[in-house]
């Protein structure tokens, strides 16, 4: 399925929310999932991460990067922050690379010998580069869509009338 980048990012974030991730971690996963698919990395890493909710990398990876900015390290790595710069290393996985690329700060991530060396410039914003289309495989899209559905509230007669605020007459 060919999608816009925003569709992929939104779908992934909502899926994480549906799987039980808190909102901020779900948003971070949305950005990381987009970077992941743009880079052509494995769907399995995303599916496994969603399957591991409400625990797993969707909760732990944001903490690992946050720890680097604080210079405190984390269970999965170590690092040092020096005000506007943060450096550190953490075990290499496809998803770790994707989270590095999704950081809102200028970030470099260099894999070497099973570890990733991360450098972040905290004073320098970074954006995910524009892409015209993103391919998302059907099994992954299906898994995400099913998780999104967990957060949807079925309509009732009362909510149909009042939830969106529309009355019965809206023509002239």
């Amino acid at each position: 399925m060919m999608c816009s980048a925003n569709e992929v990012m939104t779908l992934a974030a909502k899926a994480a929310l549906g799987g039980g991730a808190p909102p901020a971690q779900a948003s971070a996963f949305g950005r990381a999932a987009l970077c992941h698919l743009i880079a052509g990395r494995s769907d399995k890493a995303l599916m496994d991460a969603l399957g591991a909710l409400p625990d797993g990398p969707i909760l732990s990876l944001p903490l690992a990067f946050l720890a680097l900015t604080e210079g405190t390290g984390s269970e999965s790595g170590s690092g040092s922050g020096t005000g506007t710069r943060a450096t550190g290393s953490m075990p290499e996985t496809d998803l770790t690379l994707s989270y590095a690329e999704a950081q809102p700060f200028a970030t470099s991530a260099v894999p070497q010998a099973g570890m990733i060396t991360v450098q972040m410039t905290l004073s320098e914003p970074a954006q995910i580069p524009p892409v015209a289309r993103v391919q998302i495989a059907q099994p992954l899209a299906d898994q995400m869509t099913a998780l999104v559905a967990k957060r949807l509230v079925p309509e009732s007669d009362a909510s149909r009338l009042s939830g969106a605020g529309a009355g019965l007459t809206d023509n002239d």
Binding site: E7, E70, V153
Partner: protein, 547 residues
């Protein structure tokens, strides 16, 4: 700010003063509103609109293509007009068919692309689109006015002027989708292009072209020409519901930049030391125009009409006392009305900005969010606590366990996957609440922080549910106007205030609330027609009927 020399300014009105729903719900469009900025750009670029395709039946059903060149790129509006059975016509988001459907296309579509779009656009959300499709929209006729204008033109006369004045549009859009929805282009694919850099610029361009199409369609169907003055007063209507409300909460940096720019503009004009006689005359003229606009603003809802009536009286009293001959006249006037209604204060603020484009127009370049919510981490827990206690007292005040302070909850409906607002103690679904309860979350974070030491990462490892509140508090240090400083789940929260704030930035006028959750508005009323861009393209703040 991009200005080479930054003009002097007074202190800004503070976020606790400005970022309250009641005041945001009283906002008026300004010359910094997106439609106004777009019109100035179109005029500056000498844009010409062409109509390379017009395949329309005598009754006005078929398709058309409009093209223009802006900043070196050609954009085309593909418009599809459909014969819609009356029983299917509804402005609600649950609709599945509309009188007309639109795509703003990147380039000039060939026959194959036109065929694709004319097949897909009427299906709206049920279809898929491509990266060449920049904006997707649809509109329904104001049946009463459209039919009347057609009948009048066919009879060889102009339509009833009172009806034109009172309705103000031939069609109203019920959705204008951008930024990747349903497969259309992501905004970041086009936001560096000249003319489309500003927020919602592509959407506003689409709306303006749709208005142009509605004029052509009614003239084609009526087989006559509308008086240009009447035509200029015919804007494009819009029905907007709750779907728009969470945008302001979910895009805090954009909200900050919009409000900061508007407040900076106001602070700049308040710092003007003396006004020339012509400038004073201009302000009095605008005040009189505003009075006429208010007199022409009539809505069916009794409560809102009463509010407009009160504003008419207040405005006449306030403007009679404006003395622009004193030192710092605009600062003096704003201070003199600080105890007036929010409606008066915000109307005055919008009016004071209007004549001073040379001081404020450059600020419009600062209304986007080119860095995607960039915010350096605050880091220490104590710093977070301090930020909350200095900048988020509004969030700490309510007792969120009290029923009146948590009586509503935001959610996403299964039927259309659109935002909704429910009553917590009367409806199911609160367990699936959307995280728009920013104030409650920040207070919970503050409570949790009181007993914590160590790093933020350690804190969030133990309390992952507080990560959203942490991010919002961190933003507070850099973006002071990012948060609506009200409890958005209180029983008293009125989403219509959020809608009006956002729509005023679009350039909307004639707010016509149908409930506290959806409203009709008019866009582009008084805006230049395609052929008028070279003449007087920028003087249409609070338009009045001038045939």
């Amino acid at each position: 700010m991009k200005d080479d020399v930054i003009p002097p300014q007074t202190d800004l009105r503070s976020p606790p003063q400005v970022m309250r729903l009641a005041r945001m719900g009283a906002m008026f469009p300004t010359r910094l509103s997106f439609l106004r900025s777009l019109m100035r750009r179109l005029a500056a670029e000498n844009v010409t609109v062409t109509r390379p395709v017009w395949q329309m039946s005598e009754d006005g059903f078929g398709h058309a293509v409009y093209s223009l060149d802006l900043g070196g790129h050609v954009y085309s509006l593909v418009a599809v007009s459909t014969d819609l059975p009356p029983e299917l016509r509804t402005d609600r988001v649950i609709a599945t068919a509309w009188d007309s459907a639109y795509v703003l296309y990147d380039g000039v579509p060939d026959q194959e692309e036109i065929a694709r779009i004319t097949a897909a656009a009427p299906k709206q959300e049920a279809a898929r689109f491509t990266e060449r499709d920049l904006i997707l929209s649809r509109a329904n006729k104001s049946v009463r006015l459209f039919a009347h204008v057609v009948e009048a033109l066919r009879a060889g006369r102009q339509p009833d002027r009172d009806m034109i004045r009172d309705v103000g549009y031939l069609m109203r859009t019920t959705a204008v989708y951008g930024n990747g929805k349903f497969g259309i282009a992501d905004r970041n694919l086009i936001d560096s292009r000249t003319g489309l850099e500003g927020p919602f610029a592509a959407e506003m361009l689409t709306v303006w072209l749709i208005r142009h199409f509605t004029h052509d369609l009614v003239e084609h169907t009526g087989k006559g020409r509308l008086d240009p003055q009447l035509k200029r007063h015919l804007g494009i209507g819009n029905s907007t519901g709750l779907g728009m409300a969470p945008f302001l909460v979910n895009h805090p940096v954009l909200l900050n930049n919009w409000m900061l720019v508007r407040e900076t503009a106001l602070a700049r004009v308040r710092a003007i030391d003396r006004l020339e006689g012509a400038q004073q005359d201009r302000l009095h003229q605008l005040a009189a125009r505003a009075a006429t606009h208010l007199a022409e603003w009539n809505v069916p809802d009794p409560a809102h009409q009463a509010r407009i009536d009160a504003l008419r009286g207040d405005w006449d009293r306030v403007r009679a006392r404006f003395d622009f001959g004193v030192q710092r006249p605009l600062d003096h006037a704003m201070t003199s009305i600080q105890h007036a209604s929010f409606d008066v204060q915000e109307l005055t603020a919008a009016m004071f900005i209007e004549p001073f484009g040379d001081l404020v127009d450059g600020l419009a370049d600062c209304m986007g969010d080119p860095f995607g919510g960039f915010c350096p981490p605050v880091g220490k827990l104590q710093a977070l606590r301090d930020l909350i206690e200095t900048q988020f007292t509004w969030a700490l005040t309510p007792d969120y366990d009290a029923p009146e302070n948590c009586g509503q909850f935001w959610y996403v409906s299964e039927a259309k996957q659109e935002p909704r607002l429910g009553l917590r103690f009367e409806e199911d679904g609160a367990a699936l609440e959307s995280p728009l309860d920013i104030g409650r979350r920040i207070k919970a974070l503050h409570v949790a922080l009181l007993s914590e030491q160590g790093s933020l990462a350690e804190f969030l490892a133990a309390h992952p549910e507080h990560a959203l509140a942490v991010s919002r508090v961190q933003m507070g240090a850099r973006y002071p106007y990012a948060e609506i400083q009200d409890n958005l789940i209180a029983t008293s929260c009125l989403p219509i205030d959020m809608l009006r704030c956002k729509l005023s930035f679009f350039g909307a006028s004639k707010f016509d609330p149908k409930s506290d959750r959806w409203t009709r508005i008019t866009l582009c009323q008084g805006a230049p027609l395609a052929g008028d861009l070279r003449d007087n393209a920028d003087d249409w703040w609070l338009p009045v009927f001038q045939p």
